[in-house]
Symmetry: C2
DNA sequence: AAATGACCAAATAGTCTCATCTAGTCAGAC
DNA sequence: GTCTGACTAGATGAGACTATTTGGTCATTT
């Protein structure tokens, strides 16, 4: 019995290729913006045929979604790796990392140069972290452990506004009035800390809660990314 | 010797008419947006002929500038009337008043529905207050009097980011996640207070500094408005 | 002098046509 | 089974032209 046809590809190689394609897409989108980046460009740049891209993703938008999800996973991993012990450290890190990742920054502030027609998309980057109940649970734990005050309340809005404000403001300032990214991250951490933390030295329990929360977020993000990468197993 | 020609108009009546025209413009711009609001519309609505409008302002944009300046004067007067004693009260008031004045809010957050093609205009509403050195002087006085801390520094950026974040965030939230305007103003005051104030009961000197600053701002704003209203004395 | 509104040039919006581009498919090559 | 790239339908854009709108002017009226 002679085998016919090409043997099945190594799944690992497929994943690697998917990443190569996303690398190309990221590069092109950052350079030309979403609207001006064509699938042909991405195919050429990543050295595969156009059809191959459609073996991975059903549509152009699916590819973009995967790209963003990958960015998100990497961002969360970076944050997690820095082992923040408090909410303020968590979001200081969040901002620092985000400012270094132009695609994420673009989705947060709605940069139409980069996002093109997708600008009016779900602007979830901040709200996504917070929504889903997990964040509320996390905050509740911190309050319980005395790391976070009850006042002034509405912590989610406070954090969201501070983060958004600090990340978006530089866009509407003269070049020379802008602070360095590192400094901005520092100020975010300081502001959030003063806005809602008790100031007590952070307990091991609070640190645990923060890391648990991040682990959960990383986990979720990885799952979503996995869904976006394995086109073949799509429903 | 017989008088000829129409007697000069009462300047007070002229001013009143200018305000009527601005009232009409404000109404129309809020309803239809800047792009869709024509000079003819404004003339009709305010009950004057088109030419009359051009007796007051040289161009459409001049009229719009006057409108914004009037809004700014009124806003500053409102803030001043509430006699804020601290920076946090000052900006809490600022946000409360601004949220109630859709035109100012639009210029701050760059609402293209309202501003139309002017969206990319100087986004100064926040920065304007702070720029010009007067604000820095004010802050210096507060620090001197022990009302404001030296840390974390970059107070202007901190305040600008907080204000902008809290005012702009609601736009990208689901309706039901938004807080009432009053609550937002409260949170801004609280956040700014904790971010940079010492917490000491505010001294008379600090209050004086705040009111002086506001008086100066009102003064400047009134002058600019006056320039915008008296077309005839234009250079 | 002060106010008006008919008037005009310039911008803007709308229409139609033709050319180009591009997301997604698929028959066939490996 | 895996991958390719020629192919297509529909979108997008350029161009040319017309119709409409509108900011701004100014001769005339009060």
């Amino acid at each position: 019995m002679v085998k016919v046809g090409r043997p099945p590809q190594d799944p690992a190689r497929q994943l690697e290729r998917a990443h190569r394609i996303l690398d190309a897409a990221a590069e092109l989108i950052l350079r030309w913006g979403y609207d001006k980046t064509t699938i042909d460009d991405v195919a050429k740049r990543s050295g595969v045929a156009k059809g191959t891209i459609y073996l991975h993703w059903k549509t152009r938008d699916d590819l973009f979604a995967a790209l963003l999800r990958r960015e998100r996973v990497r961002m969360l991993e970076d944050i997690r790796a820095s082992e923040p012990a408090t909410v303020s450290e968590l979001f200081g890190r969040f901002v620092a990392v985000m400012l270094r990742r132009p695609l994420l920054r673009a989705t947060l502030v709605g940069d139409s140069e980069v996002l093109g027609k997708l600008t009016r998309m779900k602007r979830q980057s901040v709200t996504a972290l917070e929504l889903g109940g997990a964040f509320d649970t996390y905050l509740a734990r911190l309050i319980e452990h005395g790391a976070v005050r009850k006042e002034p309340g509405d912590h989610t809005t406070v954090i969201g506004s501070i983060v958004y404000g600090f990340v978006a403001l530089p866009d509407m300032l003269r070049e020379e009035a802008r602070l360095p990214d590192e400094r901005i991250a520092e100020l975010v951490a300081d502001t959030i800390g003063r806005a809602m933390e008790t100031g007590r030295a952070s307990s091991a329990a609070a640190t645990r809660a923060t890391l648990d929360f991040l682990d959960a977020m990383v986990e979720i993000a990885r799952h979503k990314l996995a869904d976006s990468m394995g086109a073949k197993e799509r429903v």
